[in-house]
Structure formats: C-alpha cells, structure tokens
Amino acid sequence: MFELVSALLAQNKFKIEKNGLELLGQKMFMVPTFAFVELQKELKEKKINHVAYDVFKYTSLRWTKNLKDSYHMNSDQVLNWARDTATICGWGTARIVHKDFEKKFASLKLEDSAVASTILKEQGISKHPVDHMFRGLIAGTLSTVLGADVEAVETHCVAQGANECWFVVKPMDSFDKSVELVKNQLKIGRKICY
C-alpha cells in the first residue's frame, strides 16, 4: 500500500490540502470504520438496510465511470485502479478469482475487510454476511467494467468465521432467487433483510 500511496502523492493524484483530502480529483472524507458499522445497524433497525448497498453501488459506478471517461482507461485498467483505490481507502484488499466478460460473471475474494473485521472484533461472530457496502462497491465497479447492470452476493464472510470474504457478481436474472443467501441480500420483491 505504501508504494501505491507514494506514487499517487508524487503524481499529485492524492492530495492533503488546507480544505481536505483529494483522490483522483474527487473530494474525500475520512471516517472511522465503526461509523459504517453503526450506519448499517441503524439502517437495519429501520428496515431500510438496502440503502447501504445502493449508496455504495452508486458511489463505485460514478467513481469508475469517472476513471473511464476522464482518464480514458480500458476495462482492465479500471478494474485495477478500482481495486487499488479500494485498498488505499481502507476497505480491504480485493482480488478477482474468476471473471468471464462474455457471461457477465465474476467471483472475488476480499482480505482484511474493514467492516467484517470491525464487526468481528466488536460484536463477535455474525449469523449472516455483513459486507453490504463492499458488495455495493464491487457491483458498481463490475457494472462499469462488464457494461451491464450486475449485482453482488457475499457467500462467505470473515464476520461469520471464514478466512476471507467471498463474493459472486452477475446480472440479477442469473441468480437463483430461491437461495436464501440471494433472497436476503438482493432486493427481491422488496423483501430485504440482511
């Protein structure tokens, strides 16, 4: 991570200025991870927990579209930059394990997930996967890269005791909606309860 941050600082793409932080021309906010954990908790209490996923999907769609349009990057470059910026921004280290651009499919694993490790540390083992924000980030990124609206489901989560968090990304129609994990994480029939 040091090399990446140093390179961005040297290229003036990561700036710490009088009026705040800037990364690749975007104003950034720095927030303790437990605030996002708290936000997820409050959203769940109000039964609007899909908001976290939706907001982060919007964020990464916009972020990657900016990379594509402003820096004229191809799909692989967008993917690499999105992965690196997610690491710099403290969300964890992601790696694509399998991708099929034609079938609009990808599977990823995430190490050192910010939200899952914070939940595990503060609340103990969780019954369900908890990385809804990161799910949103990869759904948005891969929607840009694959050129199709795709969704993300977390299949294994560190907060549940797994070694890494694992995600499957594909179009909504390709998910088996009878699977509880899918039903719980995606907005199927507006019945959302992750």
Partner: protein, 190 residues
Amino acid sequence: MEDFAAKLLTQKQFRLEKSGAYLFNERISLLPAYSFIQLQKQLIRHGESFISYNVFKKMSFRWVKNFKNMFKVEGRELAVWARDVSVISGWGTSRFEEEDWTNYNFKVELDSSPIPETIILEEGFTEKPVDHMFRGIAAGGLSAITGKDIEAVETHCKAMGEKTCKFTLRPLEEFNLRKPFIREQLLSSP
C-alpha cells in the same frame, strides 16, 4: 493543516498498514463526498434523515472520548484537536464564534464544507440546511469534551446561499423547540 498531517505521520498516529489505514488506533475508511450526499438523499426519501446525524454524533463522541483517554487532554485543547482531525478528515474548517464552557453554549462557523459545496455544484441552492453529518460530528465531539449531552442545529447553510455554515450547540432543553427549523433538526435525535 499540512503541519498537523506531518505531525500525525511522524508520531505514527496516522498509519498505513497492509490491513488498512489507522488514525489514533481506529481503523478508517475513505469515501468521496458525493457518497454521503447520495446517502442523505436516500435517507430523506425514506423519511429517516436523522440517521446520519445520529451515526455521526456517536462516531465523533467515541473518537473524541478515545483521544481524551489516550492523551489525557481536556477542554479547549481537546476541542482544537477535534477540529484539526475534522479538517484533515475533509469535513471543512471550523472555528468557535462563541464559546461558553460554563453554560455549555457554543456557536460554530464552518468554512469550505464539502457537503453544501457539492450540493450547490450538482443541484443548486436548497431551501433547508444540509450539513446533518457535520451537525452530528460537532454535537458528539462537544458532548465528549464537556461530558454533557449536547445537540447541534444548523442556523445558516452555504447550500441556502449563505457565505458560511453556522451551528448553535447546547443541551436539548436549552433549545426553543417551538421553532420549526429547530424541531425539524432535533426532534428525531436521540
């Protein structure tokens, strides 16, 4: 702020590790300003706009309390530190306009706040104040510093065409809750 950032780096209070970034031993995450605007929009759409105030109040309370316990700093000195962290975190540059530490009554001015600036840029001027997250940060921070539960109301907002954003901070019972704009900002607060 560059001095403050350099100090944090040399004192290893801001650390970049393989497992993530840490500020004062708390893991931190970065997000673009427009994410928070999108979050606020969605919360307003669901009639739950006070969630952002609550979350940021809790966050700031915990962070400032941690720092207070770690470094044994109190009162105004702690307030200056909290302000510097809020600036380096990108929330804008704030200062006390009025401070009454005996009666827990404060007025804070916020300059170069990214939320209203981004809202003006993307959607134009608003009819109501929009800095609910900073309201929470200021309320939680001052609650941790004073040991008294402090609430915050935004009285002037850049997004409404004002030059800067201004906030009044005091205990809930000291606010005139008959005023609609105060009621609107505080009624659903914890």
